[in-house]
């Protein structure tokens, strides 16, 4: 399948990319990993008049820690994050990076591209929203930092202005005795998840939950924060009963659509189960246990 014809730009700095995009207007698109954009172009669901290639801009794929903050360059591939010891210190990042699609897609797809695309089924939004995350962007009006919660406006819609590009994702190291987890279910590896749940749990004296964040992915136009579910855990012991209450509150907040991945009813039940599992794993990690978690699919061992 051939995409429509387009003009090609290969800038050598992000500033240059930004000014080319601003000048060309809405018809032009930035090319990061291309694992969503290229399939869309092949199906002619997207037909940009120009692509501005970010892949030859140096120093955009770093993953490093600075003053307690993890800095991830926009062009860091999912596989870079999956294999990064530094990123692995926040296990929920590894859960997500290692579970996205398949090896080949993870070798190309980037965290900056995923966040900027804001696909309702994208994996990163729900995970990063359980953490204190900032998007550092650069555009025609200079650089700015946007709190991730203010970054996503709607499906496929972000706070980025014309010509504005993600430069870096910054994640604050979680507080002590905090554990996070991301679990997702998909029908097979290469497809988007049917539903996902991400949780961050902070434990206080006597294992009381002092803070909780619960996010659900693929069950609404954006990642949905289950605030009532979090409320059901705060100040409580994490027992099957309180976790069940949190999952039920989360299910009520979910807004899934029936589609080829399942009916809305099915996805609501699924996301409830995933929320419970994510809280359970996050809690064990908050206690210092090493627990493996990631996307699951049919055919797994």
């Amino acid at each position: 399948m051939y995409p429509g014809a387009f003009r090609y730009y290969r800038p050598s700095t992000l500033e240059e990319a930004s000014s080319i995009l601003a000048e060309l207007g809405e018809d032009a698109r930035a090319l990061a990993g291309g694992q969503s954009l290229i399939p869309l172009m092949k199906l002619r669901l997207s037909a940009p008049s120009a692509l501005v290639d970010l892949n030859y801009i140096p120093d955009l794929n770093h993953i490093k820690r600075h003053n307690g903050t993890l800095q991830i360059g926009a062009m860091a591939r999912h596989a870079d994050i999956e294999n990064s010891a530094e990123a692995g210190k926040i296990p929920v990042l590894h859960d997500c990076a290692a579970g996205i699609a398949d090896v080949q897609v993870r070798n190309r797809g980037t965290i900056g591209g995923s966040v900027a695309e804001a696909d309702p089924s994208g994996d990163w939004a729900a995970v990063l929203l359980t953490l204190d995350t900032e998007v550092h962007a650069i555009g025609p009006n200079g650089a700015r930092a946007i709190a991730l919660a203010d970054f996503f406006l709607d499906a496929y819609t972000t706070a980025l202005g014309p010509g504005e590009l993600v430069r870096e994702i910054r994640v604050k190291a979680p507080a002590k005795r905090t554990g996070g987890a991301c679990v997702a279910f998909k029908r097979c590896a290469p497809v988007y998840a049917s539903a996902s749940a991400s949780a961050s749990i902070t434990l206080g004296d006597g294992d009381t939950c002092t803070d909780a964040r619960i996010l659900m992915g693929c069950v609404g136009l954006m990642a949905i924060r289950a605030t009532a579910g979090e409320e059901a855990l705060r100040g409580q012991q994490l027992t099957p009963k309180s976790i069940q209450a949190a999952a039920e509150a989360a299910m009520a907040a979910a807004d899934p659509q029936s589609d080829m991945r399942g009916s809305a009813d099915y996805k609501r039940v699924l996301v409830g189960a995933l929320v419970k599992r994510a809280i359970g794993i996050a809690t064990r990690r908050a206690r210092g246990e090493h627990v493996e978690a990631s996307h699951e699919y049919v055919g797994r061992i």
Partner: protein, 182 residues
Amino acid sequence: MWRPVTNMSAGFDRVPIEFRVNGKLYERTVEPRMLLVELIREELDLCGTHIGCDTTYCGACTVLLNGGAVKSCTMFAFQAHEGEITTVEGLANGEELHPVQKAFAENHGLQCGYCTPGFLMSTVQLLAHHPHPTDKQIRKGIAGNTCRCTGYQNILKAIRAAADAGADSSAEKVPVPQGEAE
């Protein structure tokens, strides 16, 4: 090692690229919308790389780019620029099959053969990262490749056999840059 790149910030309708495939240097000028798999199959006549679903699902088009498995139907040809690509044709050493190829042949891992080039390339990357993979690692490593004729048991068996035969050491030998520009 690559020549300085012409400044491309002005926009191009034809893109000059240089890249290596199986060690051989190529220079081409391509239309921006040409896909990598078309460059490999139509321009270079390396038809071992297959097009299956053409939708980033099946992995029949998998090649190695700088050692990492990628779906060549989901990359543009211009993204090969300054890259080292290995296709299935680059695995064998003359008449002698690569250990992964040998293991697939001996364990009936080919089946109908259509998906095989993609599975071979994913296996090469897998064994380069995990010379002695667990079954879980094997399944994860080939999760981006689909067989639609038979199933995965013989493929799993072949990959285990390749690992047992120490296929990872020869995996590192690919690709070797050499030869004249075409």
